[in-house]
Amino acid sequence: MLTYLSGDNNVCESCTDLAGAKAKLACYNYDFVLLDIGLPDGEGFEVLEFLKAERRSEAVIIISARNSLDDRIKGLDIGADDYLVKPFHLAELKSRILAVFRRKAGNNNNSLIFNEISIDLDGRNVTINGTEVVLTRKEYDMLLYLIANKGKVIAKTAIAEHLWGDEIDMHDNFDFLYSHVKNLRKKILDATPNDYLKSVYGIGYKFTDR
């Protein structure tokens, strides 16, 4: 997890228990806290309460093995920004982190730029080289997801789960995903000569300018 998130010049630190988390938070300010509820020496909610009491501004995403509504509501009430249930894909985590981060950053700059691709997050518009590209909702979500995980290989299952939710369980039949990726890639290629969306050995896709 650390390796995955440490790219893009982010600094990541980790600890494995409640005491360590409180100690670290007491010493340093972070932009972002990823909190597992099930810690060996107590419930992760305590960290949230600690942050709330100290009036800290860290964004928090809770990860938990329990997909229970009560835990979710409790976490969000105490001040978490999102709640992610195990098991999840790292790509999903990263896209959530960025989404939370954008929300926290405020409304001054609500657009996402990747080279010549510019995404207006409020209007859900995509412009490439100044021309607007019309995307379906799924294609738009996919592009956002790919850019959030730019430079990383994203497994097909991760994309499918992000777009359709993991309740829709099609058992590794990703034909439907393939056609969406194909359409998105074609629309991007129509507007720019750069082929950012690359297929990786049948395992997934990678959005990269390298």
């Binding site: 997890m1 390796t3 995955y4 099930g38 990860i63 093995a65 329990r66 997909n67 509504l69 249930v85 195990k86 098991p87 999840f88 894909h89 790292l90 790509a91 799924k138 990383k152 290989v153 994203i154 497994a155 299952t157 991760a158 359709w164 993991d166 309740e167 829709i168 369980d169 099609m170 058992h171 590794d172 039949n173 034909d175 439907f176 056609s179 969406h180 990786v200 050995y201 049948g202 395992i203 997934g204």
Partner: protein
Amino acid sequence: MKLASHYNRVSILVTLSVLFVGAIIYFFAINNIAARLLDDHLSEEVSELLGYINARQELPNPVDFDDDQTKFIKTSQQQIPTRFYDTVYHSPKKIGDISGRAVEGKLSFKGQSYKFIIIISSESAEYLVQIIGIITLLLMCGLFGVLFLANKYFLNGLWRPFYKMVANLKSFDLASPEKFTPADTQVTEFIELDAAVLSMANRVKSDYQNLKQFTENASHEMMTPLSVIKSKLDTLIQDDSLEQEQFDQINDIYSAAGKLSRLNQSLLLLVKIENNLITETEELDMGQLIADKIRQFQELSASKAIVINSKPAGKLVKVSKYLIDILLNNLFSNAIRHNVSGGTINIYLTEGQLTFQNTGATLALDGDKIFDRFQKGNNSEGAGLGLTIVKNICNTYNWALRYEFTGDLHAFSVQF
């Protein structure tokens, strides 16, 4: 046949035969006693007769003995033993034959031997026997009837706690938290049985609860390692030095991990539904939900070129959004997954029923088993819990779920 009927049959048979044998013995005994009384009477008559002859030195006239008849017959026989016997005679006062008791013997009078016969009427004695017989018969009938009624009603009452227990056992639901209500009884055997049943039910229930708790905990505990596997895989595929072959293997691991986590989630969901943990409900428009789901599944159905025909009517249901979502997801997933390329799905929604019809394998499924856990088709990639979950959700809302195979269409219908 009920135990009471068995018991009644045996007791009636025994009572009947005892009464029958008793009646025969009784009849003979009474007859015997009556005959002996008559014989005593006759013996008196004989001694009176002999006394009369000794005193008067003449044979008495027949009239002297009112209703009785006395005959003297001259005889040359030396020996006539005295004997008593039943006979029939004519009475001058009454018309017809009269049954009587007679005695005959020998007497000597003035050197002449006579055979005397004295007959007295036994009618009054017979009358007595009849009366006693009738009274006895009535008594027996009464006794018999009382016994029968007592058996019928009293025994039924006696068995009532037993039937209560049977009803309890029949309605015993492992999953429901309801406790047994003990049968109200004073009978030691039933109290013991009730206690045994009660303790068994409670033990089974607590075992079942433990098992469910175990399933839940095990499933939760599996989520963290699964998460590690997924994260490690996500990190692993970032490695540029990997070859196609390794990616193929990683793909297989992805799919296995995905299957495992879906299985886990399904198990957790089942536990939640069975424990009635999902209670919040809201009023939802089923037709609208189906229309949404069709949109949500359009990419999946389009990839198999499946045509979805839907005739949704507005139908309001008061359910949990979460559960109804899963119900529709599973029905849709099944209808698409087990469909053929270019097949169709028909969805009918009426006031009382929701039906999903889909083309697919040309053989009907085993309607008794498909809703069981881990029952799945030979080439199904699923975990085999989808329909179990659907069934459990339907049970939660007291809906009936049925499967039919008609004209090459598999149909699952939910009756509200």
